[in-house]
């Protein structure tokens, strides 16, 4: 799996490349628009990660040209602009996903993974983490065979954490997925819902599945805590 990372900020591109390589992706890095476009023309990539503000050719132009050449390669946009109309414009220009700086690396990895296996891989309707079972079709949750009643928001939160067991989700990520943009900056709402979710999912059982990583966020996991 080969990824082209187009990001002019050297430090950031190094960080992202390092994180992606740790996940065993092959990563090429371009720091400038024209060089990036040459690489897109020369090699077949499985994914493009594209910063919109670039010297030389700008990101939006690379997005357009790439889409004309290859309509299928997934493109993940990195941008500092978070206005809704900006997002809409980029999706219309052919972006597959959109990440606003500053993002958590965990989130970048989750999205990269999702984009790479998009298509043939079907998502299982039942997710299992240890003895926890989440049925996505009926929206029912069982633990050790016992049914757990959750409110709609609690269920959405748990299901989101369960999309990538072991992966840390930041509060901002959780807000964006489980609530909506109007709640941005209201991170304490996540803490409150996680606490309520814990009383139902974890408290009656010995093994605690919902874990906190201070300063980073929450994840769903089994085994010994790190």
């Amino acid at each position: 799996m080969r990824i082209l990372l187009i990001e002019d900020e050297k430090k950031l591109s190094e960080l992202i490349a390092r994180a992606l390589r740790a996940e065993r992706y092959a990563v090429d890095v371009a720091h400038e628009g024209h060089a990036a476009w040459q690489m897109v023309e020369t090699y077949e990539y499985d994914l493009l990660i594209l910063d919109l503000m670039l010297p030389g050719l700008d990101g939006a132009e690379i997005l357009r040209r790439t889409r004309r050449r290859n309509p299928h390669v997934p493109i993940l946009i990195l941008t500092a602009l978070d206005a809704t109309d900006e997002k809409v414009r980029n999706f219309e220009a052919g972006a597959d996903d959109y990440l606003t700086k500053p993002f958590a690396f965990a989130e970048l990895l989750v999205r990269v993974k999702a984009l790479m296996r998009r298509g043939p891989v079907s998502r299982a309707s039942v997710v299992r983490v240890a003895d926890l079972e989440i049925d996505r079709l009926t929206q029912q949750v069982r633990r050790a065979g016992r049914k757990i009643e959750l409110t709609a928001k609690e269920y959405a939160l748990l299901e989101y954490l369960a999309t990538n067991p072991g992966r840390v989700f930041s509060r901002t990520m959780i807000i964006e997925h489980v609530w909506d943009q109007s709640f941005e900056g209201l991170t304490n709402i996540v803490d409150v819902y996680v606490r309520h979710l814990r009383t139902k999912v974890d408290d009656p059982f010995a093994a605690k599945l919902i874990r906190t990583v201070r300063g980073a966020g929450y994840y769903l996991g089994e085994g010994a805590e790190p």
């Binding site: 950031l12 500092a80 500053p102 690396f105 709640f183 900056g185 409150v192 990583v213």
Partner: protein, 479 residues
Amino acid sequence: MNTRSLSFRLIAWYAGLLTLVFLLLGAVMFAAVADDLQSSLRNDQIRRAQQISDTLLRGVSHSVEPVLAQSVETLYAPEANDRFIRITRGDGTVLFQSGEPHDRHFVPDVPPLGQLPVSRSWREVRLSGGGSLVIGTVIHRSANGTRYAVEVGSSTAPIDAALGRLLAVLGTGLPLAVAMAVIGGFLLVRRSLVPMERIARKAEVITQHNLSERLPVERTGDELERLSLSLNHMISRLEEAVQGSKRLVADASHELRTPLTVMRGELESMAADPQVTAATRELLASLLEEVDRLAAVVDGLLALSRLDTGEASAQWVKFDLAELVATTADQMSLLAEDKRISVICDAPQRVLVDGNRAKLKQVVVNLLDNAIKYTPNGGSVRLKVAAQNGQAVLEVADTGMGIPPEALPHVFERFFRVERSRSREQGGAGLGLSIVKSICAAHGAAVELQSTTDQGSRFRIRFPSAAELEQPQLPQGAA
């Protein structure tokens, strides 16, 4: 008709002035004609009297007096010429007096002269039978010293009739002329104001979202061309300013957020290193929290800048504010429950408002979050949506600690924090209420705040013109 419109006022002024000018002109003309006619009538009488005195009375004596009367009768035929002629001796006795004219339009019952005037003169005599006579008098002194007064008079009726006709002509012609001038003026003004109407209509649809559009400029070389040109220049300057601030927001976003991403990435990867000690991990976590806070501040500031460039004025839809408030309260209910705060949502009726739904939801979220944050455990928060006097009113009231009076004017300022218990530990970037105010301003709504220390605060937002009221829905109970 709009009585304050430019065309109405122009025409009203124009018609008023025109009427005034016509009235003055008519009056002057009438006076001049009347004076001219009357003075010529007078001069006529005196001239004739002089004629009689010159031709007939020369060398008169008592012996020829009857012959004199005879010759006046034949030479001047006063009755046939509708004239009054009288010759009076110095002692007041009448030598000759003409009779009633043939057409009988006056009765010559002119009072006797009595004392003879010293020289020629004229006078107007009202007749008992109606009408009046203008009488010119000339004094004749004969060779033997006898004085005679020759009076010649003529009716003013023909002059009065002529003046009456003139008055009638003026009286009907003047209003007619004014009316025609007003109609003509109205058509002219309307025609010249049509392009103005077009400019106004176009200017009304230009907002900060289509500033690249321009007003139509007609190359007429008149004031309206200049007006549309200068308006277009103003729109250009506005466009530049908006573009400039949009660019600034974009640049600032990039310059602030990229380093934050790097910091966060580095810290995360350090924290993920299994060899890091617990103490260092704590430190890294604390740094990550600060990065989050900084990111939140940057988000808030940029959100405010985007609001300044008119973000909330776009994508307006008509929606039910009551429903929005009820669902938002529901989504946040756990926050309140956590502090055993009861949230009462009093929004029984559909209240339609026009606006940017996502931004107005943010208003509700920010106000409700604030209310819950600053209300102690066991308190209550009351949300109310109602239509009052054609306005949609949103109220968020809490039983919290309230805001001290000296802080009230400042709570909507950026980064303002009420001191004491409102420490930064309670989160937020100090921008929430500024954002609320900006969004409301973009919707033409004012935010009112009432607060009593230790009793609670109440925010009230009035949105202009709620569109309609409908049947009550199921009341939303305590959330």
